[in-house]
Symmetry: C2
Subunit: 306 residues, 2 copies
């Protein structure tokens, strides 16, 4: 039985992945008003092999709440574009100065700095253009409000700013400060991905609350296990430079709690993420395969910490 | 009679300026989730003395079409934020590498490069958050669609990309290529400012067509006279480094048409801008002071070319 579910979940995720990549490809063809070099840089970064975690969350959340995932595709593309832009800008020499991303040269290494800055700007703007393809117009408005706040100065950009500027400063007084950075830098967009899926599905208030809770804990667990991966992972397998948190004295979980303490914290947060799905498990209307997919994503994060 | 109109127009513009600056100030207070340094950089660039041309266009267009300008303030803030972000990123060392802007050190000179990149990203995102304050939600959706396209890879960002990459290359074959860059880099946002004002006012299709036409010619005239200012202007008065088009071999109008030819082209375009206001002049419902303000803005551009 478990095996059948696993196979179905894995097929389902593959299917979503293909749908998302086809949509991202179609959304970045552009007319002749877009310079060729800019188009290439945008597509190079956006279409590079990746997990497509955020757009998968959008589509799965939509389907979990009884929505038609086809209608959520513009929102799925939007969050992946925001993610791709933030990676391009984070990798810049003035920021994290990284040469490798998803196993390939970073955008400014492959092209150059000004192209990378503009490709990031274009992707950020394009995310909102994608939202414009949603219908009806009211939904565009709702999603625009949601995404702009999550990607803005108090969330994603603010988290990145603190991550850069608190680097190399004294050890933080408590783990809450590390959590505060992660909640904004990584957590906000993950949480919003789930909420956008709910919005497209026309989810009930209770459904949105449950999605939101799942988003908070899943996002946190994602970052904690990502920090662990930086310490314990293998660079070849992961496809990006590791140990950089330690090298650059970043405020990561392991730095503050140690490896064992971080594993424990990851476990605790993953349990909370799992529990926040109870609402859907106890509901008759929840889409079965979508729910199993969320459970499997939680399990997958648990694997990372081993 | 002309004197009274001039005084009224000038009072009207001052009033709009104050309303806009108060709104921009209020919109960038932020809660404690926004890092202090990021907040300072955003406000430094956004609130620096400037013409506030684009937001004034939004409010005036709204009022010209019988709308309540108070309701258009979020849209006015949004276009100024897009403009401010594009200046911050354009000034970066990897781009135009400018030290002076509006008579003050550029953002990356006053702060640093990573702060300037993030302040630009934050302002771009904040523009869409501002649109979220419009009501009803349908209007948010409509304006989001409009602004995202104008600021995106086929318009503003694409124009900037071509402006950088065609610099120093061979002389273009014809003036259309220069126009194509300007139409996207500067023209699109000016045109959209007018259209957003019309959208908030619930303008008729005919009103929107007239606004759009005015936007096209006014935007073009703005860029042509700006190119002239770069050649003929006084650095002290203008408050930014001049002669840089010549220094960096930019594809400007004077480079292609010479100073006299550019003056002639400016005159031609300004006339077209003026004529596109005929629809409103012949309409009984058009707001008189708003219309006079547009005429005076055209006249002001004509002054620049002297």
């Amino acid at each position: 039985m478990t095996e059948i579910i696993n196979r179905n979940v894995s097929q389902y995720r593959d299917e979503l992945y293909r749908v998302i990549d086809a949509a991202l490809d179609a959304a970045t063809q552009f007319g002749e008003d877009c310079p060729v070099r800019l188009r290439e840089a945008i597509r190079y970064s956006l279409l590079a092999p990746g997990k497509r975690l955020r757009p998968i969350l959008v589509l799965t959340a939509c389907e979990l709440c009884g929505g038609d995932r086809q209608l959520a595709i513009p929102a799925a593309c939007a969050v992946e574009m925001i993610h791709a832009y933030s990676l391009i800008h984070d990798d810049l020499p003035a920021m994290d100065n990284d040469d490798l991303r998803r196993g390939l040269p970073t955008c400014h290494k492959k092209f150059d700095e000004s192209t990378a800055i503009l490709a990031g700007d274009a992707l950020l703007t394009l995310a909102f253009e994608m939202l414009g393809h949603l219908t009806p117009l009211e939904l565009v408005g709702r999603c625009c409000r949601e995404l702009a706040v999550a990607a803005g100065p108090c969330q994603l950009v603010g988290g990145q700013m603190d991550d850069i500027y608190r680097t190399n400063s004294h050890k933080p007084d408590n783990i809450q400060i590390v959590e505060h950075i992660h909640r904004r830098k990584t957590g906000a967009l993950i949480r919003t991905s789930l909420r956008l899926g709910g919005l497209v599905a026309g989810a009930s208030e209770q459904q949105q609350i449950a999605l939101d809770e799942f988003g908070i804990y899943f996002g946190l667990a994602f970052q904690i296990t990502d920090d662990l991966l930086d310490v314990l992972g293998d660079e070849q397998t992961v496809g990006k430079r590791l140990r950089k948190d330690t090298e650059s004295n970043k405020w990561s979980y392991p730095r503050f709690l140690g490896v064992d303490g971080t594993k424990h914290e990851a476990e605790r947060t993953l349990k909370l993420a799992e529990h926040s799905l109870d609402f859907f498990r106890n509901s008759n209307s929840a889409n079965h395969i979508a729910l199993e997919t969320f459970y499997s994503m939680v399990k997958h994060l648990a694997e990372r910490k081993k």
